[in-house]
Subunit: 359 residues, 2 copies
């Protein structure tokens, strides 16, 4: 709990530095979890002067009272969230209020409740910046999520074989992660075989894996809200020369890109390392996505590692490095790890080196 | 695919009846799945006059081309979605455009791209109405999702026992559903034991179940995007007289409410049936949530079954019926099924009648 109060203090220091802003209102459910450590809140009002308030509906009220000891918890009746908040902004004498994110319809309801005299602005950038740098507690949880993910991938390696259906492989992976304490998957598990492996988000169907298929396995465990993300590519049986060649290019690109991950390096330059290796090998057009993305409470969050990214890496960022080559109507190869940016370079949180197939 | 084109036609007929509206723009990812059958689109533009366009980023483009044979698919470069759409609205001569749902920041970007001459309005009600009534294909998929969920609950019944950790029970449930073809859970599985069972969204922790604990198990499988939702309450060991009494009240409330589910009945009246039984038994204050909610592509969608609901049931609605009694610091009981509204009444899609505990 203490760590979430520190996060609120950090947000106050960043957001209230600007003149005239004296309130921050949070609606996004992931941001609410970040600042309260609880997943059942509906809003959080952070005043410049006064004590923050968490708004909770009846269904979660007893739970919130039990978990949110250090917060003022307000019980909200259905349909009264915006008016309750508006009343409280008067008590706090809030003139200009920043909102993290809101649907256009709710935005209008809020603006109406606040009336004309109050200024309302949408700005998620302060929170994005905070969430990009993980604190010690977050890193511990992500290390655990990555450990569970690595265990899932070990099971994938043992399970992938001709004759298995894609979802049967996913069942074994998820069971292994869950039995060891995962709270669930970080995203829908991908087990994409044969021609489907050429679709980066190939999903997982009831297709039977065939001898010689490329099989892209992309999995993540969640542990106490924190996520992880890992991909390996296997061949069911003996890999062909072409498969080995494409695999080796992606593997080299991934290793060199991981080596390039350091504080103060531009994310587009890390992307460039992998993109150049794949481009020089003649597959530039077949690397159809960014090199990676931040991971944390969400599986995709800032910073982004792509050719157009403007981010610079910092100590405490947790990002994926995941180059791929996708040959439509043939198959695809992707290799991905979740890595932590440390003072001296990247630490791989997901771990596991596997053979492409039977050699 | 044909069924998704029918859905677009139905939307056109509903939305373009009003004067002057000549375009519909869909951004919500679930709505996009509903109208395209594909989960990787970023936007769908439906003109009154002309052929609909699906907007897709590079990472999903090959996949979209393979799956969306009956749609025009537009490849979008990062950062150019709103301007691409704005250009196309000119080609279609669209004057007034409805949008299903959009974040305030994206809304402003869209409005800017469109310029002042075009009218923009947010309205999700047409799609909400369409999605409330499931077509045959949807019902088939929900039946399968419910069958997988019922299998998961059977495993829960066999697994819950003193000494098991909550997440270990969840692991067995999810494995059973997944092995039979589920694409994943419909929501985070709840296995909430002891005092935690008194929190309706009690989650699932590493707590060890103790002899005599109430254990609320709330699970759902997803099958080809469609979800299901089911809750049973067990006791680890021999139930006490108080546990049996509270359980029997909830069971009667659930059965009578399911019997009240019929076309043309107001959802608040169905809620009232259960609420009266629980209130008469002296636990009205401890039934802290609505009776139920619609289920489909999302686990919570219209219609709502609560005291303040304004919906009326129709043939083809799929809703949950889930009364509960939550005694803080003691434990809770909830019983829930997903039911289909048919001409003559409710058909339970989730099935399984279990003893509360050892008798």
């Amino acid at each position: 709990m203490a760590s979430t109060l520190k996060r609120i203090d950090a947000l106050k220091q960043a957001a209230f530095r600007e003149d005239g802003i004296d309130g921050f209102l949070i609606f996004n459910s992931t941001n609410l979890t970040y600042f309260t450590g609880f997943s059942g809140a509906s809003a959080l009002l952070i005043p410049k002067n006064g004590e923050s308030r968490v708004y909770v509906y009846g269904v979660n009220y007893a739970h919130a009272k039990a978990e949110l000891g250090e917060f003022m918890v307000e019980l909200v009746e259905r349909g009264e969230l915006m008016t309750d908040i508006a009343k409280q902004t008067k008590v706090f004498k809030i003139g200009k209020l920043l909102v993290d994110a809101l649907n256009i319809e709710s935005w209008r309801a809020l603006a109406e409740s606040l009336g004309d005299e109050k200024e309302l602005a949408a700005d998620n950038s302060f929170i994005r910046e905070l969430r990009k740098v993980k604190d010690k507690k977050e890193i511990d949880l992500m290390r655990k999520a990555a450990e569970l993910t690595s265990e899932g991938m070990r099971v994938a390696y043992e399970t992938v074989a001709a004759g298995m259906r894609e979802y049967e492989v996913a069942a074994e992976i998820e069971y292994a992660m869950r039995k060891q304490g995962s709270s669930g998957t970080a995203f829908e598990t991908i087990v994409a075989s044969g021609v489907c492996s050429a679709f980066p988000h190939g999903g997982c169907s009831d297709r039977k894996i065939r001898e010689g298929d490329l099989v892209v396995v992309d999995v993540g465990a969640t542990y106490k809200f924190y996520r992880s993300d890992m991909t390996r590519t296997f061949v069911a049986g003996k890999p062909s020369e072409k498969q080995k060649k494409v695999y080796q290019i992606v593997k080299t690109a991934q290793e060199k890109a991981v080596e390039a991950v350091k504080p103060n390096v531009k994310t587009k330059d890390v992307d460039g390392v992998a993109r150049k290796i794949i481009g020089d090998a003649g597959y530039g057009e077949q690397f159809v996505h960014n090199l990676g993305h931040g991971v944390g409470l969400e599986v995709h969050e800032p910073p982004t590692l792509g050719p157009d990214s403007t981010d610079t890496l910092e100590v405490g960022n947790v990002v994926t490095v995941e180059p791929g080559i996708y040959l439509v109507s043939y198959g695809g190869v992707r290799i991905e790890d979740t890595v932590l940016v440390r003072r001296n370079g990247a630490e791989k949180l997901t771990i596991g080196s596997y053979a492409l197939g039977e050699e």
